[in-house]
């Protein structure tokens, strides 16, 4: 074979490998979704949403776990996202080029990819040890710490997208930066910030490791924030590793519910962002 043929063959081989790599990646996603659907749909019934987690061998659902997950995720977002949004505002508006801001940006990016189990240990040390027992509020705080970096990052990025002219016009009318931020910048960046919130909810609602030793688990219905609370990820963890068939079925059903809700959240976040970008392009 001549040199040109060799080069072409090499090119073809690598491009084929790259195609294979992409197909493997997509196949993994498909395989996971297929497994969840085939195992999870069998366990789908109204009992899931009306009954508590059962003892082994008993019949039951996931109501307490679903409730606990919803409450702790909501609390986590309510505590975490205002901090993230305010800090993002500081980075984008007040301290855009300051040294402090670049340090905070760096630390935030580190927190964004820090292992969530470390955050769990942190909250265990400062909340659970102090209070002397596991509690839903500790779980919510752990989730809040995980939500802060996500919302901070998106808020800063979205505020930076707002055209300078809008800010200048507001300043020219004599508005202080706080007025400009609240009345001009936040409305202009609203859908971007909402996207950040959705991404943060998607991120924390599937987290298991930080809840293991903060919220723990609870076999019964509990609305007491000061007591251990059931939650979907930890229930899945416990039930999937159990030897009981009905517990495993519940784990699969829970896994399907959690994955579908997170995928729906991520896709809607992406759709909002895409609409936003096409708006700006027009």
């Amino acid at each position: 074979m001549n040199r040109r043929g060799l080069r072409k063959a090499k090119n073809g081989a690598f491009l084929l490998l790259s195609l294979l790599a992409t197909m493997t990646g997509l196949a993994c996603l498909a395989a996971i979704l297929w497994t969840l659907l085939s195992h999870g749909v069998a366990g789908m019934s109204w009992h899931l949403f009306t009954q508590m987690t059962p003892p082994p061998g008993g019949q039951g659902g996931l109501l307490n776990a679903l409730y606990g997950s919803a409450v702790m995720t909501l609390l986590g977002i309510l505590i975490g996202s205002p901090i993230g949004v305010l800090a993002g505002t500081y980075l984008a508006e007040y301290g855009r080029n300051s040294r402090l801001s670049s340090v905070i940006r760096f630390i935030n990016d580190v927190l964004l990819s820090a292992p969530s189990i470390i955050i769990g240990l942190f909250i265990y040390e400062i909340v659970v040890v102090r209070m002397g027992h596991f509690s839903a509020i500790a779980g919510a705080l752990a989730l809040a710490v995980l939500a802060i970096p996500v919302t901070l990052r998106t808020t800063e990025d979205m505020l930076n997208l707002v055209p300078m002219g809008m800010k200048d016009s507001s300043a020219a009318l004599g508005a202080y930066p706080w007025r400009t931020t609240l009345s001009v910048l936040y409305p202009a960046a609203r859908s971007g910030i909402v996207t950040g919130l959705l991404l943060a909810i998607a991120r924390i609602s599937g987290e298991t490791a930080p809840l293991l030793f903060t919220a723990l688990n609870n076999q019964f219905w509990s609305t007491d924030l000061n007591a251990p609370m059931a939650n979907l990820p930890v229930v899945i963890f416990q039930f999937a590793l159990s030897p009981y068939k009905d517990w495993q079925d519940l784990a699969w059903a829970g896994a399907l519910i959690i994955t579908v809700s997170i995928l729906v959240l991520s896709i809607s976040a992406r759709v909002i962002l895409a609409l936003l970008q096409s708006d700006r392009g027009a």
Binding site: R7, K8, K10, N11, F14, L15, S18, L19, A21, T22, T24, G25, C28, L29, A31, I32, T35, L36, P82, I83, L86, A87, Y90, L91, E93, Y94, L100, I104, F106, I107, D109, L111, A114, P115, I117, I118, L121, F122, E125, V145, I148, P149, Y176, P177, W178, R179, L182, G206, T208, A209, L212, L216, F237, A240, L241, W252, A255, T259, I262, L263
Partner: protein
């Protein structure tokens, strides 16, 4: 003509100070969180550090009955599973990024890109349950016997593939981790490749280079820093990943030469044992493991961020 009411102006100034202070304190809280993590881990780990000293990281023993703990087995498991994950995920991620930037028909570019990102959004516990019930049996039945038969008889490398095919173990954990970090690395690499100025690539094509040659001789050298940054970001995730590993690693506190044997990692030890740990030294040893993990991942992630940042600045000056 409007006259500015001095009382109104004074009030505005107060609001301004309050708002500024609120944003500043939120920003500083981010620093405090990281500082708080470090301080609370050191404090929690102190009894173990004081008791075992440096030998904590060099000993393999992990015995709750005699209250003796060493971190060597979890450290080994963490490092080896992450290495396996990187060996598998980096070439595949490179392939996906190459496909998305150079080969993919424009119509499919977005859907495939989104699908890869969705794989990144799947919670880790789902990877764990899938790995345990689907992947592990497949590896046990088809892949591991093949490895034992064909690779296990080779000198040197063979040592890594000895013993019975358990299904769960270090290798399986590495494969699950590879699938988990694949989308992160692929997405970063794609973004980095996209920053290569089209003119450079066109020049390569203009000289008659093939797609692969443009990739290897133009795009890769241009994106080296960003690629390494993305790989290290993936490594940071693999090192700290907890739930997916906990399902499939087998939880054995020992170092066996074979990759097919069960092992443990830092994070899976903590996840498995923390709530059952009785005694201060046991709990403290687990927190000391957490401190080690924090130090390792912090170093890796910080280095990755520093690299990506350098690239951003350079990209900014080019554009």
């Amino acid at each position: 003509m409007a006259i500015i009411d001095p009382r109104h102006a004074a009030k505005q100034l107060i609001y301004e100070r309050i708002f500024r202070l609120a944003t500043l304190s939120a920003a500083i809280l981010v620093l405090l969180i990281l500082g708080g993590v470090a301080v609370s881990l050191v404090r929690g780990a102190w009894p173990a550090i004081a008791h075992f000293g440096f030998s904590f990281v060099t000993r393999e023993i992990w015995n709750p009955v005699t209250d003796e703990y060493g971190a060597l087995a979890p450290i080994y498991g963490t490092v080896v599973t992450s290495l396996i994950a990187m060996l598998l995920a980096v070439p595949a991620a490179f392939g996906i990024a190459l496909f998305l930037t150079e080969l993919c028909p424009p119509l499919l570019k977005r859907p495939i890109g989104v699908a890869v990102e969705l794989l990144a959004a799947v919670p880790s516990i789902i990877f764990g349950i899938w790995g345990l019930f689907v992947l592990a049996p497949v590896l046990q039945r088809y892949v591991q016997p093949w490895l034992i038969l064909h690779v296990g008889s080779l000198p040197l490398v063979g040592q890594l593939f000895k013993g019975p095919p358990f299904g769960i173990g270090i290798l399986t954990a590495g494969v699950v981790l590879a699938i988990m970090v694949l989308p992160f690395i692929a997405a970063t690499m794609r973004d980095v490749f996209d920053t290569v100025p089209p003119m450079l690539k066109e020049s390569g094509y203009g000289l008659g280079a093939t797609t692969w040659e443009v990739m290897w001789h133009v795009v890769v050298p241009h994106s080296r820093v960003g690629m390494v940054g993305g790989i290290m970001l993936g490594l940071g995730r693999a090192l700290g990943e907890t739930m997916a590993v906990t399902f499939v690693i087998g939880n054995a506190h020992r170092i066996s030469g074979s990759l097919l044997a069960p092992g443990t990692t830092i994070s899976s030890s903590i996840a498995n044992e923390f709530t059952e740990a009785v005694g201060d030294l046991y709990t403290s040893s687990l927190i000391a493991l957490g401190l080690l993990l924090f130090l390792i991942t912090f170093t890796v992630i910080a280095a990755a961020q520093a690299m990506l940042r350098r690239l951003e600045r350079r990209g900014g000056s080019v554009a």
